[in-house]
Amino acid sequence: MSGETHETHGAVHRHEPPTSFIRKYIFSLDHKVIGIQYIILALVAVLVGMTMSVLMRMNLSWPGTNWPILGTLFPGGAPDGMMTPEFYLSLVTMHGTIMVFFVLTTAPQGGFGNYFLPIQIGAEDMAFPVLNMLSFWVTFVGFVVILAAIFFSGAESTVGPIGGWTGYAPLSALPNSGPGQGMGMNLWIISIAIFCVGSLLGALNFITTLLNMRAPGMSLMRMPLTCWAWFTTAVLALLSFPVLLGGGVLLLLDRTAGTSFFIPGGLYIGGELSGASANFPIHTGGSPILWQHLFWFFGHPEVYIAILPGMGATSHILSTFARKPVFGYRAMVFAIFAIGLLGFFVWGHHMFISGMSPYSAMTFSILTLSIGVPSAVKTFNWLGTLWGARIRFTTPMLFAIGFVSLFVAGGITGLVLGQSSLDLPMHDTYFVTAHFHLVMGVASIFGMFAATYFWFPKMFGRMMSERLGRIHFWITFVGVYCIFVPMHTMGIVGMPRRFAQFTEYEFLATLHPLVVFVSIAAIATVFAQILFYFNLVWSIFKGEKSGANPWEATTLEWITPSPPPHDNFAGVIPTVYRGPYEFAVPGAPNDFIMQTEPEPGTVPATEGAGNGHNGHRH
């Protein structure tokens, strides 16, 4: 905390922004710059992840085709332009890892959370700006290491380890267990460990900031739902990442120090018995299931880390464009917390086929299904918010409604997979792939698209193009359903995940047209994202000027200029008088009331808080 130059000695004190380029844009202490850095990291990482998914779809749909470009780029992994199964598996692994960690965890929380949590609670920065900077740069190093795993996997034929993003032992624990499992796997574990540290620093900062730095009058129950979501997400990260970190340390020791935490005795690899030679030292008595427990104790909260910020943003945006208060604010808060809390007790549903006792499976099953209750509370409250509203169908609103649709479509199959009896036939099929992509992947990303279109004017002072945004929405929305709905059918038929090709399986031959259809939909959807990237870059320079409050919204980020000054509120600490979603209040002159608007009859704020908005017409 030595470098913390931003101390408040009084409300009159103004923070001067740093002037050097490096302090301003690279090693910045400003939460807004750090938020944008996280978003840029996610925007880069998602390109890598999407490219990998396109390569996978190409291999699945057109097996045996020579892709000259693949042969040129990956002479080891795709000799003569045809992918090897190992190369495909490494794509699966790296696609999952990069998407889950460096996209779904960075953008919603590190990106938008960093930028808007302090502003929405009326703080001038995070509690620990130096830690905040460190958390981004640590995460960035983690990203560099995962990219290193692509290029230096130790095997010509892969772009990283081949064990999937879950890194199950003993495959992940033995360097000689397959191509890419040597240096590639080491780098993978190190990257994840670094990422854990970065996320923990971030979570610590979020929680402290929210508990400690709220503006006068900003009681917990006056916070926007976004803040509740970011807070719960931070708590989940704080309590789940240390478990992964601990497990990762043990896994790395199994690989490098000859311990046997996760490696059972008597393993044969390539006809060689454990202990037979120096490069396959003896291992005894380890428990592969132990790794699964440690991993999924982290892994399940992680899926909520990905989606909770999207839920927060959706609630916020639905209310703003429905011009109605969020239906059941308190219930929404408790539902967020219930989902977060229950998320810690359901990890076993990822392990129904690990040989666990049927009684444990039933317990995990019941707990899992009970998450349906708070999820349904949220869904009905979103619908209640929209009910009877005169909706303004802007692009962020479209994406927020899309989020609700995808959350329901993806969540409903969770009720299928959460039952141990139904999971037995469904596990490791495309049904699972479809389920988690819809609910944790695409729904979260829709939440972030909504957030981007919604907050872009605040971040850059200009609107994004509505026309491009709408085209982007409709192609993406139809596209993702075209990709993932057929996958349910494939899964029910019995098509297994993680297979590079299905040409050898007679019973899957009839599904081939569907596989091709999914691939075409996927490629089209990926290309539609060019519109989004173009819109982002174009609007920064050419977008229509937005003003402080273009959406006529009520929360604190809209009382300050766009983009906000270095200390968010130009040296003034706002005072909050009311809840976050006061739309269509009977008797009010406008259909929205800013949080800083004093109640009639109360003593007016001394500092002119709330003067940033111009919709006040008496």
Binding site: G246, L250, L253, G285, S287, T606
Partner: protein
């Protein structure tokens, strides 16, 4: 009226600003606790899952470690109280004593490692020795962090300034580091018991 509100707000901001160190420390402790909970559950599962578990004998020097860290907790608590009674020189002296005790604890732990190595017991020898090295190393890394924090706040007492805000902040930092140190103390006692006095 305006001046009163303004003054109240300034004090509020200063207090709140200082309090963040305490809150941040409690939050960090929750996180560290989760990591050791994970390692403990791994320990219990691994101990029960196979027959290759060979318990180590207690290295005698660990009793010395335990004594050192408990005394260190006491001296640091004294330091914190000295600061509350506004005697910064005594505060600094007790901080340095605590840091020396923390350093001695680390040396003692290293000595225990050396003794085991001399007996031919390495991290890969058997699951109990693996966990012994992992748990002591993880605890030690956190203690190194605590040492750095101790030295940091003892250097800061010199250039603290004497505004109300600086005092509040110095006190909060001292509190936070002391909590952390007590936590590591209790954590070590817990690990000691888990490693050598708990049998599956």
């Amino acid at each position: 009226m305006v001046a009163v509100v303004e003054k109240a707000r300034v004090i509020q901001t200063a207090k709140s600003s200082a309090n963040r160190y305490r809150i941040g420390m409690w939050v960090a402790l929750a996180s560290i606790l989760m990591m050791f909970t994970a390692l403990t559950s791994a320990y219990i599962v691994r101990a029960g899952s196979s027959s290759d578990w060979q318990p180590l004998n207690v290295p005698r020097v660990l009793w010395l470690s335990t004594a050192l860290i408990i005394i260190g907790s006491g001296t640091l608590e004294t330091a914190r109280r000295k600061l509350k009674r506004e005697s910064p020189t005594a505060y600094r002296r007790w901080l340095l004593i605590s840091a020396a005790l923390g350093f001695a604890f680390l040396l003692s732990q290293l000595f225990a490692w050396r003794q085991l190595v001399q007996q031919g017991i390495y991290v890969s020898s058997n699951p109990h020795s693996s966990f012994f090295y992992v748990l002591t190393a993880t605890h030690g890394v956190h203690l190194v962090g605590g040492l750095i924090a101790l030295l940091f706040i003892s250097l800061r007492t010199r250039s603290g300034g004497d505004s109300e805000f600086a005092i509040a902040k110095g006190q909060a930092a001292a509190d936070a580091v002391t909590f952390y140190w007590h936590f590591l103390d209790l954590l070590w006692i817990y690990l000691f018991v888990l490693l050598f006095f708990w049998r599956s």
